[in-house]
């Protein structure tokens, strides 16, 4: 990742939120009809007589195997969450429940304060992510557009912070938050993670690629930094901000170690911590149905968000790999 101010076609493409494989400049020169033709030609090629065996043996067969390995555990989870205990302990399990029931979900609610935990998870994710994204946007803007001496040095400090995994800071943060009275509270879960190096870094790269002219025109109209940020820089950067936001949401929702350390009572736990508790309570073989119901509850929301917005999430999580 180059830290210098540069505007390459790739930056441009990234700015507009175009996925890497769509960036090929050669393809952009073709008309829509031609492209359609080409794509259809490709499809037909794959199924032409000389390629058919190749397509199936080295294409669909391995993809099929990979999909089985990836999807089967998740399908098994969903199916088992609707099975009564007798179908869980049986020696001849079936893929689909023979006698579907939602008892398992009810049982989860009986064992742990599930709705409260679900609410906690949503609260922590929404509040934490919103603040983090806002801080990332304002910090990145300040680093790029507000000229003060030493700002590159400050940026370097933020870059180094990017290298420190939260696990390393766990013990001192535990002492700090406990000292502030934040043990077993929701704000205690949120606070230490709010400082954001990743979002700042990503948005800084993005802001640096924005055309200067946009801001010069606004300055002539007498716009200050607030207006330049919220009326120009932020609106034209929605895809990049969405990427940062979604990656943050995924991380906050799945976060486990810190909430595990800082919470003690079930009423303050987030879902991953609560389910860990559930697992230590439910040790009988028949209770796998209940555990799978719990897993569905923590996995399904991210799966749905990912299915809907995967373009941004993949782009954000594989950041740095495509130059």
């Amino acid at each position: 990742m180059s830290l210098t101010r540069s505007r390459t076609p790739k930056d441009e493409a990234q700015r507009r939120g175009i996925a890497p494989e769509q960036r090929d400049p050669k393809k952009q020169k073709l008309s829509k009809a031609e492209r359609k033709q080409m794509r259809r030609g490709g499809w037909l090629d794959a199924f032409s007589r000389q390629n058919l065996a190749d397509t199936i043996l080295t294409g669909y067969l391995p993809i099929f195997v990979a999909l089985i390995v990836i999807v089967l555990p998740l399908a098994w989870m969903v199916s088992s969450s609707f099975k009564p205990p007798s179908e869980i302990v049986t020696l001849n399990p079936t893929l689909l429940p023979q006698d579907p029931t939602v008892d398992n979900f009810g049982n989860v609610v009986d064992r742990v304060p599930l709705l409260t935990m679900f609410g906690n998870s949503i609260y922590v994710t929404v509040v934490g992510s919103s603040i983090k994204v806002l801080l990332a946007v304002t910090t990145a803007y300040a680093l790029v557009f507000i000229k003060v001496p030493g700002r590159n040095f400050i940026f370097l400090g933020i870059l180094v912070a990017l290298m420190v995994p939260p696990e390393v800071s766990m013990l001192p943060n535990y002492l700090t938050i406990t000292g502030l009275g934040g043990r077993d509270t929701l704000w205690g879960i949120i606070l230490p993670g709010l400082g954001t190096a990743f979002g700042t870094f990503l948005l800084r790269q993005h802001f640096m690629a924005l055309p200067k002219e946009m801001f010069e025109a606004a300055e002539l109209d007498g716009a200050g930094h607030f207006r330049k940020l919220f009326q120009i820089a932020a609106p034209v950067s929605i895809p990049a901000i969405a990427t940062v936001g979604l990656v943050t949401v995924v991380n906050e929702w799945n976060s486990f170690l810190w909430p595990l350390v800082i919470t003690g009572s079930a009423e303050k736990m987030t879902l991953p911590v609560g389910l860990n508790l559930l697992q230590s309570v439910e040790t009988q073989a028949g209770s796998y149905g209940i555990l799978m119901a719990g897993a569905v509850i923590v996995i399904a929301p991210m799966l749905i968000i990912f299915a809907a917005l995967q373009k941004y999430i993949v782009a954000g999580l594989t950041q740095g790999s495509v130059k």
């Binding site: 080295t58 933020i158 420190v164 995994p165 170690l257 991953p272 990912f306 999430i313 594989t318």
Partner: protein, 309 residues
């Protein structure tokens, strides 16, 4: 006379400059200050206080601590339990990184073909990467159950009895590596796919015209051009597998028997039964410098090698 006017002008210019400067500073602090403060308080301060705690013999919650110098570090690098942590970390990291990279590359090679439906397949393969590690581990706990799990049924179909995944330490380690690879390989596949698509088609075509077979084409053309991607993935995967695996490890093997990697040991030592906060802090410092070293190596090589095009 005229020089006095000039200095007066100069002075007012300097004043204006200073005023602008201080206005810029206050704006800068308004915009970036909160984030910088949070980073200082919850990332930098812990880094240095860990270094101090690491020199103490100190139980978590106890009000007294004794200075013991570098003994915690010595214990981590020489004691049997410390060396066991290194051994487990090395095996876990190697297995997790190689497993997800090799499988990820194979999937990427398949997805790089011109076949319909590959975008949907790519999405499906990537999806485990965004799921809760705790949830994923619970699902695999059920699958690995030696008597009721899906895997025991599949193995039973072939007449093999299920290994004691939870009782035997080596099987436990193998089990958590499998789950980590399952969750992580989609990430590697997608990054490899982007790398493959950046390889110019005419090079492959030229090799085909020279009658290079598919394996020769892969070894002589694709793989060398893919080295920057391989290197990037190698480094990020090592970093991730050393820090991100905690949720899977803790959910599948709560006691850390046979699976206590560095990150798990940091947790177990300070928040598990022992409450040895000083020792835990020392391990955290070692982990930080290990990661720092790996990143530094990456930055050095990336600057030199990646700009091949």
């Amino acid at each position: 006379m005229s020089s006095a006017v000039q200095t007066e002008q100069e002075r007012s210019r300097v004043r204006a400059h200073r005023r602008r400067q201080s206005k810029n500073w206050s704006l800068f602090l308004l915009f970036a200050g909160p984030n910088i403060l949070l980073i200082l308080a919850f990332i930098y301060y812990p880094l240095f206080s860990n270094m101090y705690y690491s020199t103490l013999d100190w139980r978590l919650g106890s009000s007294t601590a004794t200075q013991i110098g570098l003994e915690n570090y010595a214990a981590f690098f020489t004691s049997d339990s410390g060396l066991e942590v290194w051994r487990v970390t090395a095996i876990f990291t190697a297995g997790a990184v190689l497993g997800s990279m090799i499988l990820g590359l194979l999937i990427a090679l398949v997805l790089n073909k011109k076949i319909p439906g590959k975008t949907a397949a790519r999405t499906a393969v990537f999806s485990p990467y965004v799921l809760s590690g705790v949830g994923v581990a619970m699902v695999w706990n059920f699958i690995f159950d030696p008597t009721r799990g899906g895997l025991s049924h599949i193995l039973g179909f072939f007449g093999i009895s299920s290994p004691e995944w939870y009782l035997n330490e080596d099987w436990s380690l193998f089990m958590v590596i499998i789950v980590y690879v399952w969750k992580n390989l989609g990430y590697c596949a997608v990054v490899f796919l982007a790398g493959l698509q950046s390889i110019p088609k005419d090079l492959i075509e030229a090799a085909t015209i020279d009658r290079a077979g598919p394996i020769r084409r892969f070894v002589s053309v694709t793989l060398p051009l893919l080295t920057p991607t391989v290197f990037f993935l190698l480094v990020t995967n090592i970093l991730f597998s050393m820090t991100n695996a905690f949720d899977i490890l803790r959910t599948m093997t709560p006691t850390g028997h046979g699976t206590n990697t560095i990150i798990f040991e940091i947790y177990l030592q300070s928040f598990g039964a022992y409450q040895r906060a000083g020792y835990s802090a020392a391990i955290a410092v070692v982990l930080f410098f290990t990661l720092f070293f790996i990143t530094a190596v990456q930055l050095r090589f990336v600057e030199r090698k990646v700009h091949y095009s």
